[in-house]
């Protein structure tokens, strides 16, 4: 059986990659992808712990999380498409009409 530490390492790596992307990238679509990475790293953790401590709750929770991520992605991309139509770009640095 694969040790639990490896799962956690994988999840941490994914989380860090996602966070790095989130902080450095400016493209809206890339940001969405980074957010997916963050969410999925959390899902890995949930499933792994659930498998090692015989309790199915964690896996159920992961399913909820995936559904939520799908909904969030839907709304997010809709916003991005609307922004693109309005500004002709999805570079978030340029979208600052409501800033001081």
């Amino acid at each position: 059986m694969i040790p639990l530490e490896l799962y956690i390492l994988l999840a941490s790596a994914m989380f860090t990659i996602g966070l790095y992307g989130l902080v450095t990238q400016k493209n809206g679509v890339k940001l969405m992808m980074c957010i997916e990475l963050l969410l999925n790293s959390a899902n890995i953790n949930l499933v792994a712990f659930s498998a090692y401590q015989p309790n199915v709750n964690g896996q159920v929770f992961a399913l909820f999380s995936i559904a939520l991520a799908a909904a969030e992605a839907g709304v997010g991309f809709a916003i991005l498409i609307a922004l693109y139509r309005l500004y002709g770009t999805i570079d978030l640095d340029n979208i600052n009409a409501m800033r001081w």
Binding site: L19, L22, V23, Q25, L31, L92, N96, R99, W100
Partner: protein, 675 residues
């Protein structure tokens, strides 16, 4: 049986008010007949109650309202004579009004407001507690505002209405303060109230007066006097009364005779035990009254507007009534009878005089006496009824005014022998002037040559009828009713648990002389009240020249006026005494420069100046520091808001850094063992 319907006395005019207000437009003559019928109904009910209760019973009904207060009806002799007088005079005025207001587009509004006016005054009179009285008191003020400003398109009428409202408001605030003070004092006594008794009910107030500290009593009395001064047009709050002439003449008649101004005198009479118990309370009343009586009479002497002459005479006569109550310090409750007698008599002849003046104005179409003259040739009925009114006002022997005013002057003399002669001197001088200005008015209106081309016709009978009826009362009421009236009113306070001897000790004027004894006897043996008062009557014992002086004064005054103004026996011309440039004449014409002092100097200089200073303080100081603070906050925010960059990455970085810091801090804390 009539007593069960006592509420109708107010309810009927209120119904008339609603009917006229909403339906009057569709009725002939603005629905004036409804108002007449309503007040007539009130008069009939009052008459019925009178026949049931006279002379030894009172009616008292009351129900709980809220908290410590009740609504109730208290009809004792004092209230009953007022009810009868008000409903009777007001009915006549409304009948007259049907003729006078005929054709006025606002007739429905007039009759609605007049009905409400009557209802408020009647309600004021038989309220059984001070709070209820105050509510009706304010309603009376409101109606007077509406009616004085009846022709509201005329700027002077609108201004006069405002003036009346604001001036009486000054007094009303004092009145309210007096009520609150009285309530607090009564509440702090922890009186054991029987069921159905409430703190501000008059019987409860009377019964517990002796327990209130003297200085508090004086404060309360001064507060109530303030209210009375405002309502009854006493100095210094008399300024609104002459201006109240801007309304229709019927309104002036109502305000000056039956409703409104009598309310102040009635209040003092109603609270007489309190004034009696308050040290200096009655002294203040006597001083205000006597001064006003003379003060207003001098102004009446020079006015040219026929209604203004009458207005000043009202102020002056109200001064007589106030002084009559004030000298009660010497004669006890007898003063209430004397003063209210003058009030009732005065409302008859003053209503008569105003309605006559209205009749003249209706025909002549001017208020200015200089443009009249010789009107008597065309208006015989008006002339003779007005003559009766004038004789009564001047105090000609056997007329009503003679009996009532004479008695006030006599008790003022009694007061003089005991305490101070000033009120007496003021009143006698005022009586001389009253006779002079009344007949100056009468002669210059009805006799002599026509001084301008005016309308010449007698008024219709709907107007003359009330005049004749009022003239009968103005002539006959005095000798027909005087003794019974005094006895009846003297018994008023015997219905309550009030000990005038004890109150007199608190007030610092232990009853002296015969009246004191009479009042005391009456107190302890209510049934013998009449007898006791009778003894008081006989035991006057003033020298004969004091008894006769008012007659001399009245006739002398009338003769003086005749010598100056009646062309048949004219010996002098006013210009021989005084010229255009005479400073005293100018002063009187200008009304002692009250307008210049009150409006010109006080209002425009002092008040306006103060207001300007306050305005600067308000802008610079009160608003200033607040504006400075908000400006500072805005400036600070300008800098701080830069933090919100609007760039998502910055937020994420901040979030992550925050989490990292939190983790580090918590870990360190756990290491150290804090958590």
């Amino acid at each position: 049986m009539y007593a069960d319907y006592a509420y109708l006395i107010v309810a009927l005019p209120v119904v008339a008010f609603l009917l006229c207000l909403f339906l009057g437009w569709h009725l002939p003559r603005g629905g004036g007949f409804i108002t007449v019928l309503a007040t007539l109904g009130a008069f009939i009910v009052s008459m019925g109650i009178f026949s049931e209760t006279y002379p030894h019973e009172i009616v008292h009904q009351s129900m709980h309202w809220f908290a410590d207060f009740n609504v109730g009806i208290l009809i004792d002799p004092l209230a009953l004579v007022m009810l009868l007088m008000v409903s009777f005079v007001v009915t006549l005025i409304h009948i007259y009004g049907n003729g006078y207001m005929n054709g006025d587009p606002g007739a429905a509004r007039y009759f609605a407001e007049a009905a409400l006016f009557s209802a408020s005054m009647l309600g004021l009179v038989y309220a059984d507690n001070l709070l209820q009285l105050f509510i009706f008191w304010e309603l009376v003020g409101l109606c007077s505002y509406l009616l004085i400003g009846f022709w509201y398109r005329k700027p002077s009428a609108a201004a006069a209405a405002k003036k009346a409202f604001l001036t009486t408001r000054v007094g009303d605030v004092l009145f309210l303060a007096g009520i609150i003070l009285l309530y607090n004092n009564l509440a702090s006594l922890n009186i054991a109230l029987k069921p159905g008794e409430y703190l501000l009910q008059f019987p409860v107030i009377y019964a517990n007066l002796a327990s209130i500290p003297g200085d508090q009593l004086t404060l309360i009395a001064l507060g109530l006097l303030g209210g009375a001064v405002g309502k009854s047009g006493q100095f210094p709050l008399h300024v609104w009364l002459p201006d109240a002439m801007e309304g229709p003449t019927t309104v002036s008649a109502m305000i000056h005779a039956a409703t409104m101004v009598t309310a102040g005198v009635y209040l003092v009479a109603r609270m007489f035990p309190l004034f009696y118990a308050a040290p200096h309370g009655l002294t203040a009343v006597a001083a205000v009254g006597a001064f006003t009586a003379l003060f207003a009479a001098t102004m009446g002497l020079t006015a040219f507007d026929i209604k203004r002459v009458l207005a000043f005479s009202t102020v002056s006569q109200l001064g007589f009534m106030m002084a009559g109550l004030g000298v009660g310090a010497a004669v006890g409750t007898f003063a209430v009878g004397v003063s209210i007698f003058h009030l009732i008599g005065h409302s008859f002849f003053k209503a008569l005089l105003f309605l006559c003046a209205g009749s003249v104005i209706h025909a002549v179409n001017t208020n200015d006496m200089r443009e009249m003259g010789g009107v008597g040739k065309y208006m015989k009925w008006t002339m003779y009824t007005m003559l009766i009114g004038s004789l009564s006002l001047a105090g000609f022997p056997l007329f009503t005014g003679f009996f009532s005013k004479d008695e006030i002057i006599v008790i003022a003399y009694e007061y003089g022998t005991m305490i101070n002669f000033l009120p007496y001197i003021f009143l006698v001088l005022a009586a001389v002037l009253t006779a002079i200005y009344t007949f100056r008015m009468w002669f210059s209106v009805f006799t002599g040559k026509e001084r301008s081309n005016y309308g010449k016709h007698e008024s219709p009978w709907v107007m003359l009828g009330p005049l004749v009826l009022l003239a009968v009362f103005a002539f006959g009421f005095g000798f027909a009713a005087q003794e019974d009236f005094y006895d009846y009113l003297d018994s008023n306070f015997e219905h309550y648990d009030v000990d005038f001897v004890e109150l007199g000790v608190i007030g610092g004027h232990a009853l002296e002389g015969e009246h004191g004894a009479a009042a005391a006897e009456g107190e302890h043996a209510a049934a013998e009240g009449e007898e006791a008062a009778g003894e008081g009557e006989e035991a006057h014992g003033e020298p004969w020249y004091i008894q006769i002086l008012p007659i001399i004064v009245a006739i002398g005054g009338i003769l003086t006026a005749a010598l100056f103004y009646w062309d048949r026996i004219k010996k002098f011309d006013p210009s021989q005494v005084t010229g255009e440039r005479d400073p005293i004449r100018q002063m009187l014409l200008k009304g002692y420069y009250q307008h210049e002092i009150l409006t010109g100097w006080f209002a425009e200089t002092i008040v306006y100046g103060t207001a300007l200073i306050c305005n600067v303080i308000d802008i610079k100081l009160v608003d200033g520091w607040l504006n400075w603070l908000s400006a500072w906050v805005m400036g600070f925010a300008q800098h701080v808001r830069k933090v919100q960059t609007g760039i998502v990455q910055n937020y994420v970085t901040a979030l992550v850094l925050g989490v990292v810091v939190l983790v580090v801090v918590i870990t360190l804390a756990r290491e150290v063992g804090l958590v």
